[in-house]
């Protein structure tokens, strides 16, 4: 039987996480001993965890890995919130799988002497939009006037404007039969929203920022990469994700140093190492929109913006 290989960096991902492929390749180039566990493979893997010592042995196909107190870092790419609501009853085995394996993975937080990118507990809190806005304002970011409400009679039109940016409080991904529904940010007349049906769930209403240039600021520790999101060299009204990807350009954007420092400070303040921050530049002001503690970065990783390589070095250098 193959000997157990000690692991310095543990990668917890899923099979479709292609950006994490890049990190693994970079770790391999750095000569780091690492193990990647994919959520889908766990049913075929064998694990033995002693939480007291602590010591974890993992067998996957012909690989045998040992994780103990010498573990230096963890790349955590597991769902913090499972947003894919089942549209049909789950079998007993499916229920067991969906409850116990995520709990096992969360339980690996017992390796708390390792550096976590990101710490799942910090990610849980940082995913909350209301908390994000409060922290960003507290640190000195410009933030859009906001009201979260299910009250059709709330004074939104008088405080935020007749037309508002309507968002969900958390990602909306609904499913009925073979159809699914995803809610993007919409610029709407509040009178459309202020129907009795609003009582069913709160929405996040914000003062419209227009015109604007969307910025994505990717932060890893003290590293900052900023791009603007443009169509034909101009900013985009409303939610840029509604545009076809072929239309979009992501040129580098030179953030003022004080704004970059604020982004670094926000990520750190939230207990994170990594964060993908959405800003809007409007009328010379940088306005905080939200932070995605688990936001995707693969679409921005280029030789000029070596995000994967920098993440790998951050994991290796712990």
């Amino acid at each position: 039987m193959r000997a157990l290989q000690p692991v310095q960096v543990l990668v917890l991902a899923n099979l479709h996480d292609f950006p994490t492929d890049r990190i693994c390749v970079e770790l391999d180039r750095l000569g780091i001993c690492y193990a990647r566990l994919n959520r889908e493979d766990l049913g075929a893997a064998v694990v033995r965890l002693d939480p007291i010592e602590p010591r974890l042995e993992i067998d996957v196909e012909d690989q045998r890995w040992l994780v103990d107190q010498t573990l230096k870092a963890v790349w955590w790419r597991q769902p913090t919130f499972l947003r894919n609501i089942p549209h049909q009853p789950l079998s007993l085995d499916e229920q067991l799988d969906r409850s116990q394996w995520p709990a096992f993975l969360r339980g690996l937080m017992l390796f708390d002497e390792a550096r976590w990118l990101n710490d799942p507990a910090a990610t849980y809190r940082a995913e909350c939009k209301p908390w994000q806005l409060r922290q960003a304002a507290r640190l000195g970011f410009n933030t859009p006037a906001t009201l979260i409400t299910n009250d059709p009679n709330a004074p939104v039109a008088t405080t935020l404007g007749e037309t508002v940016a309507v968002k969900s409080v958390d990602t909306v991904l609904l499913r009925e039969g073979g159809r699914q529904f995803f809610a993007y940010t919409q610029l709407l007349d509040w009178s459309i929203c202020a129907a009795p049906a609003l009582r069913a769930a709160p929405v996040l209403a914000q003062k419209v920022i227009s015109p604007k240039l969307d910025l994505r600021v990717t932060v890893l520790g003290d590293h900052v990469w900023a791009v603007s999101v443009e169509v034909e060299g101009a900013g985009i009204e409303g939610d840029w994700r509604l545009r076809k990807k072929e239309q979009l350009d992501y040129p580098d954007f030179a953030l003022p140093p004080e704004v970059a420092d604020l982004c670094i400070a926000l990520v750190r303040h939230m207990g994170l190492v990594y964060g993908a921050i959405d800003l809007a530049l409007s009328d010379g002001r940088f306005v905080f929109i939200e932070i995605n503690p688990t936001g995707e970065w693969g679409w921005l990783d280029t030789p000029e913006r070596p995000i994967a390589a920098t993440i790998a070095r951050a994991l290796a250098a712990c």
Binding site: F18, R77, R83, V166, V172, T294
Partner: protein
């Protein structure tokens, strides 16, 4: 109808996210390999784009 439902974008739901054709996952490396090398660096696969019809990150927002 609630505004978040009324203005949500409808699409066809997928029960399973397909795995790459003609490629295999290298357990030791922790990466997919295709005929032309690593899939993660193959621009033709579109595997690392933001709008890949599903997000590949841990947030799994589905869009």
């Amino acid at each position: 109808m609630h505004v978040l439902r009324g203005f949500a974008l409808e699409s066809v739901a997928r029960d399973e996210t397909p795995l790459p054709d003609g490629a295999h996952y290298d357990v030791a490396l922790g990466a997919w390999k295709g005929k032309n090398g690593l899939l993660a660096y193959d621009a033709m696969t579109g595997t690392v784009t933001k709008k890949n019809d599903y997000e590949t990150g841990e947030d799994q927002k589905g869009q």
